[in-house]
Symmetry: C2
Subunit: 334 residues, 2 copies
């Protein structure tokens, strides 16, 4: 383990508001990482356009919404560089240089991309930009010389592709310009959707958003899945795999109270209604300060945009410096 400060690159596609699943899976660790690492958080509008090219207005609106979510949960622009991907033109230039170091066949066989093509139902109409996006990601990661990229298991092939490019570039141009990145696998268990499916997502319509009102949260908690075999209050219930307790574990602060509830639930005699009532309190407790901050930032859209512009200026400086090393290694200095 080297003593150098880690450089973290992470971010989100601005295709919808962020939800509790994002909080558990990534936002939470960013709030921690910003104190110990150089952290870049990218609002990946270019990447969103690879499959939302025709809804660029939608992407644009979500850039602002995602920024609000970041600021609301406590990603601090004094500690973290928050930036908009499309304001960093060196990323597109790096992408084109890297495309020459990767074969067409390699792109075709990227396992993550293959899965997503099925998942997104592109059929024969896969946009070329979508096939190319692992190379754009390599540009994003290497532009900041990120050493640490938080990803899910399914994104590991992307890091592998990036590191292949890093090695090919340094070998081809005989200079160690680019830096290999390590995947940082989140240890947090994935938060299930309110319908009990293993992933919370906009597409599955099973998410509680960071921007949901207390009323919306209440309705969602009321219809949440629990143990399907826990039919009568007096029946013993299952805690493992029960979304209610996943959420309590993730957001509750009073551990002993939660342990009591679990024990009572297992034993029987504790109705879902009581657990949900407690969960609602926990979630509202958790969301209230976030929503207060969100409301403040929402009132000052120009202030938010200024934060994004200033973060983007910092990111541009870093990416431009890498680009100029890249061009110089390639001899593209005129």
């Amino acid at each position: 383990m080297k003593n150098e400060k880690r450089i973290v690159l992470t971010g989100d596609r601005p295709t919808g508001p962020l939800h509790l699943g994002h909080y558990v899976g990534s936002l939470q660790s960013r709030i921690t990482l910003q104190d110990t690492a150089d952290q870049y958080v990218m609002i990946a509008d270019l990447q969103a356009l690879t499959d939302y090219a025709k809804e660029s207005d939608f992407v644009r609106k979500n850039v602002f919404q995602v920024a609000l979510d970041y600021l609301a949960v406590g990603i601090d622009p004094q500690k973290t560089v928050i930036f908009i991907q499309s304001l960093i033109p060196p990323l597109t230039e790096l992408t084109l240089y890297y495309l020459n170091l990767v074969t067409w066949n390699r792109l075709k066989h990227n396992p993550t991309v293959k899965q997503e093509i099925v998942h997104k139902g592109f059929g024969e109409g896969v946009p070329a930009g979508f096939m190319v996006y692992p190379i754009c990601q390599a540009a994003d990661i290497t532009a900041f010389k990120a050493t640490c990229v938080p990803v899910g298991e399914d994104q590991l092939p992307m890091i592998e592709q990036t590191n292949e490019i890093v090695r090919a570039f340094n070998r081809t141009y005989k200079k160690d310009v680019l830096v290999e990145a390590e995947a940082f696998l989140s240890r947090a268990a994935r938060l299930p959707g309110i319908d009990g499916s293993p992933k919370m997502s906009k597409t599955l319509n099973n998410a509680i958003y960071l921007s949901d009102t207390s009323d919306q949260v209440k309705k969602k908690v009321q219809k949440m899945y629990s143990d399907p075999r826990h039919l009568r209050v007096e029946d013993p219930g299952r805690v493992e795999g029960n979304p209610l307790f996943y959420y309590l574990d993730a957001f509750g602060k009073e551990t002993s109270k939660i342990e009591q509830l679990k024990e009572h639930y297992r034993r029987g005699g504790l109705g879902d209604g009581v657990v949900k009532k407690h969960l609602l309190e926990v979630l509202i407790d958790f969301l209230e300060p976030i929503q207060k901050r969100r409301a403040l930032f929402e009132k000052d859209p120009e202030g938010v945009m200024d934060i994004l512009r200033s973060g983007s200026a910092k990111a541009l400086e870093k990416a431009s410096s890498t680009l100029s090393e890249v061009r110089s290694a390639m001899g593209l200095t005129y």
Copy 2:
């Protein structure tokens, strides 16, 4: 026919010195076009890198050589914007936006690219950048809002691809930002190689270069193919398809003298040696002023680089203005 000034985009990949075939096929018409059109001539180093990624030094050196060739033949930087492709980052940004408007399938089926893959012998190792280069070309053409692109017959699918993107972009973003281009097919017959094969090219090692010394030209003319059935001086010879007369037609000034030679050759009694002697005079006459200018520029490499830098600054201004219209149509204004 509109009365507006045509905007021409053309250029060369810097992968070797230019030869007489380039002169006849494109340089000549650029010298004419620069008086009547807004002409942009691009030294396409990015495109060269799609298949010469590992020889970037070679590409870099040829950027300078091609510039010398341009200036030597009389492409006038006061009338023509001569620029280096890699100094225009908006081209890479446009490429990435356009990639989202084209399907992966469409890229795969580009006839020109398919032919070139065979021709270049890539096998399974086609670089991804090579597959993507028709979209880079669309970026080049549209960045300057070129209305006229001089191409060979084999490049027509590239213009078609560009115009598909123009229509898709304007339709998707509901604004007529991009302009369709017309192919400008050269009427000049293609100059055969000195070995009689239909195309002069570096790869075929059958070219007379603009930068060849008189001695080199002499040797090449001496071994030039003529009419293979014209064995004895007194035999009648064929003028049609005879490289010697192609070259005389292309570079000779004294039309009546050439007609006399042709007539004599057809009749019999005129040896190849005499025709070659005359051709050598014609070529040296043609090349001498070009080589004098070349020598002058060669002595002042910084002056040449300044010309390229200043042309690139003009090209950058134009491309940036198009890019900002593109981004604004897409709503990417933050």
